[in-house]
C-alpha cells in the first residue's frame, strides 16, 4: 500500500513537473512574441458615413445596433480644429426642414439631441451668417448613429465629425461585433498609439 502510495506520489510529481514545464514553455513563447495592446478603431476613410463621395445616402447605424456595450462604444467625435463653426451646421440642423423665423432650419438632425450649439464671442445680429458657433457633442447622449457624420463632409461640411471608438467605453472584444457586421470593413485593430490619433479621411481613389 505504502509502496503504491509512493509510486503514485512519484507519478504525480513527475506529471506536475511536466505540465509546469509545458506551461512555462508556452508562456515563454508567448511572452517572446508578445505585442503591445491592440484596440479596435473606425477607419474614417472606409466608414460610409465619413467617407467622401457618399452623399444623399442614408447614414449607416450599425455601430449603434451591433455594439455589445450599452448605447455603443462608438460615438461621434468633433475634431474642433477642423470644424467650420458654421452658422447653419448641416450636422446640427436638419437642413431639409422648413426655415423658421430666425432664418434657421426648424429641426435638429440628432435624434438624441446630443449636439450643443453656442455662439463664440459677440454675435453680430446684422451679419448672422458670419458669426462663429461652437458645436459640442455630448458623449453621454451620443449613440454613434452616424447621422451627423454623414452630413459633416463635402459638399456641405468639413468632415470634422467622425465616428470613433471611445476607449473608456469599449471592452475590446476579441472579435468586435461591429467589425463582423460592417459591410465596409471599417473597423480594424491597431496599436494603441495609432488608434488614439484623430481620424484621417482620404478622398476615394
Amino acid at each position: 500500500m505504502s509502496d503504491l502510495q509512493t509510486r503514485r506520489d512519484l507519478f504525480s510529481t513527475v506529471a506536475r513537473g511536466t505540465v509546469l514545464a509545458v506551461l512555462a514553455g508556452g508562456a515563454g513563447f508567448l511572452v517572446k512574441k508578445a505585442n503591445g495592446q491592440v484596440v479596435w478603431q473606425v477607419d474614417a476613410s472606409r466608414c460610409i458615413n465619413s467617407r467622401l463621395g457618399e452623399v444623399g445616402v442614408a447614414a449607416c447605424n450599425l455601430c449603434t445596433t451591433e455594439c455589445v456595450v450599452a448605447l455603443s462604444a462608438v460615438r461621434a467625435v468633433n475634431e474642433y480644429s477642423r470644424c467650420g463653426r458654421c452658422n447653419i451646421c448641416p450636422a446640427y440642423f436638419n437642413i431639409t426642414s422648413a426655415v423658421n423665423e430666425l432664418g434657421q432650419p426648424s429641426e435638429k438632425l440628432c435624434p438624441r439631441d446630443a449636439i450643443r450649439r453656442r455662439p463664440i464671442g459677440k454675435v453680430d445680429p446684422e451679419d448672422p451668417a458670419n458669426n462663429f458657433y461652437e458645436y459640442v457633442i455630448d458623449e453621454e447622449k451620443c449613440d454613434g448613429c452616424g447621422k451627423c457624420v454623414m452630413q459633416c463632409k463635402e459638399p456641405l461640411g468639413l468632415g470634422s465629425i467622425t465616428l470613433r471608438v471611445r476607449y473608456d467605453k469599449c471592452v475590446n472584444c476579441n472579435r468586435c461585433s461591429i467589425s463582423t457586421a460592417c459591410p465596409q470593413k471599417a473597423l480594424m485593430q491597431l496599436p494603441v498609439h495609432q488608434a488614439t490619433q484623430p481620424a484621417e479621411v482620404q478622398r476615394p481613389g
Binding site: 508567448l30 484596440v39 432664418g103 463664440i120 451668417a129 468639413l158 471592452v171 488614439t196
Partner: protein
C-alpha cells in the same frame, strides 16, 4: 437629400448658402453676403476674442499598469481563496470573497479579460505566427492553471466571476446521478475542442465561441442580446437546483483546470479515517465532488460547503493530525 446628390458639390454649397441667406432675409431687410466660405476651418487666431479651441477627448484604453493590477488581483484572490478554504475552512468568508470577485472581475471589469476567454487568444497566438497577445493575457491564462497544479481549482471558488454568480444562486441543489454527472462533464471537453477548432481558423473566419456564448457577461455589462440574456437567466434558474451547471458541464477552462487539479498535492481533503465518517460532507456537496467519502480534486470547486457541514469543523480548523478526537469518546 437626393437633390444634394444631383446638384453636386458646388451647387449644393450654393443651395445651403441660399437657404442660410433666405433665412436671414426674412429677418433682416438687407441681405448680408456670406463672406466666410466653408472651405477651411477657422482657427483660434481667425476667431479672435481670446477664443480657445476646446480639447478633443481621445480617451486612452485602460492603462497598462491597471491591467497589471488586474493580474495581481487575480493572483491575490486565488491566494485568499486557498487560505480561506484550506486554512480557515470558512464558508462565510469564501462567500464574501465570491461577492468581492463578482463585483470586481464581473461588474466592474465587465467580465473582460478572464482566463476562460483568454484560452482562445492563447491558442490563436500559438497557432498563428502573425497573432500575438500582451503579456498580461498570457499571465491571466497561466496563473490559475499553475495554482491548480498545486492546490486544486482555487480559481473556481470565489475568484471566477462566472463561478461566483452561480455560486450565489445555489438554493436547493439536487445530487445529479453519478453516471449522468460524468457524461455531462464530458460536454466541456467537446466545447473546449470546438472552441479551439474555431479559434485556429484563418483570421477572417476565426470565431471566439467562448466569448460569444458566455451566458453571464450580459449581466456584467448590463446589456446584451435578448437570447443570450435569456440563456444566462436559464442557467441561473437551473443553477438554483443543479449546482453551477456552466462550471461543471460546459466551462472549457474548467476542463483544463480539472486536468491540472488531478495532480494537485494539496487541496480540499476529506479524511474519514480521522473524522467522524458520517457522510454529511458528501450530502452537502452540490457538485458531486465527494466520492466514497473522498474529495475528488478535479471536480472540487472550492466552495467549502463540506467544512461548514462538518459537525467537527470547529475542532478540525487549525487542527493537526493526532489532535482530532471524537468529543467525549476519548481523553480531552
Amino acid at each position: 437629400m437626393s437633390w444634394v446628390a444631383k446638384t453636386g458639390s458646388a451647387l449644393a454649397r450654393l443651395a445651403l448658402l441660399v437657404l442660410a441667406l433666405g433665412g436671414a432675409w426674412s429677418v433682416h431687410a438687407q441681405a448680408v453676403p456670406y463672406q466666410r466660405p466653408v472651405e477651411t476651418a477657422p482657427q483660434q487666431d481667425t476667431i479672435g476674442g481670446g477664443y480657445r479651441t476646446p480639447a478633443v477627448q481621445h480617451p486612452l484604453p485602460r492603462d497598462y499598469w491597471l491591467q497589471v493590477v488586474d493580474v495581481v488581483a487575480l493572483g491575490a484572490a486565488m491566494g485568499v481563496s486557498i487560505w480561506l478554504v484550506l486554512k480557515r475552512r470558512s464558508r462565510t468568508w469564501l462567500v464574501a470573497l465570491a461577492i468581492a470577485s463578482l463585483a470586481y472581475f464581473g461588474f466592474y471589469r465587465e467580465g473582460c479579460i478572464c482566463p476562460i476567454g483568454s484560452l482562445q487568444n492563447v491558442v490563436v497566438a500559438i497557432a498563428d505566427p502573425r497573432y500575438s497577445i500582451p503579456i498580461v493575457v498570457t499571465a491571466t491564462f497561466v496563473l490559475p492553471l499553475a495554482v491548480a497544479l498545486f492546490f486544486g481549482r482555487a480559481f473556481c471558488g470565489g475568484v471566477c466571476a462566472l463561478g461566483a454568480i452561480q455560486e450565489l444562486v445555489v438554493l436547493r441543489p439536487i445530487q445529479v446521478p453519478r453516471r449522468l454527472d460524468r457524461a455531462l462533464g464530458l460536454l466541456k471537453y467537446a466545447y473546449l475542442g470546438l472552441a479551439i477548432l474555431l479559434a485556429i481558423r484563418p483570421a477572417l473566419a476565426r470565431e471566439f465561441l467562448i466569448c460569444r456564448f458566455d451566458p453571464f457577461v450580459g449581466f456584467f455589462r448590463r446589456t446584451g442580446s435578448p437570447h443570450m440574456l435569456l440563456i444566462g437567466g436559464a442557467f441561473l434558474v437551473a443553477g438554483m437546483f443543479v449546482g453551477r451547471p456552466y462550471c461543471r458541464y460546459l466551462c472549457p477552462y474548467g476542463g483544463l483546470l480539472a486536468w491540472c487539479a488531478r495532480l494537485a498535492r494539496r487541496g480540499v481533503t476529506i479524511t474519514p479515517d480521522r473524522e467522524l465518517d458520517c457522510g454529511l460532507c458528501a450530502g452537502a456537496c452540490p457538485y458531486g465532488a465527494i466520492e466514497k467519502m473522498r474529495a475528488v480534486g478535479r471536480n472540487c470547486l472550492y466552495c467549502a460547503r463540506c467544512y461548514s457541514a462538518c459537525p467537527r469543523d470547529g475542532e478540525l480548523a487549525h487542527a493537526k493530525a493526532g489532535l482530532v478526537q471524537v468529543r467525549g469518546a476519548g481523553p480531552q
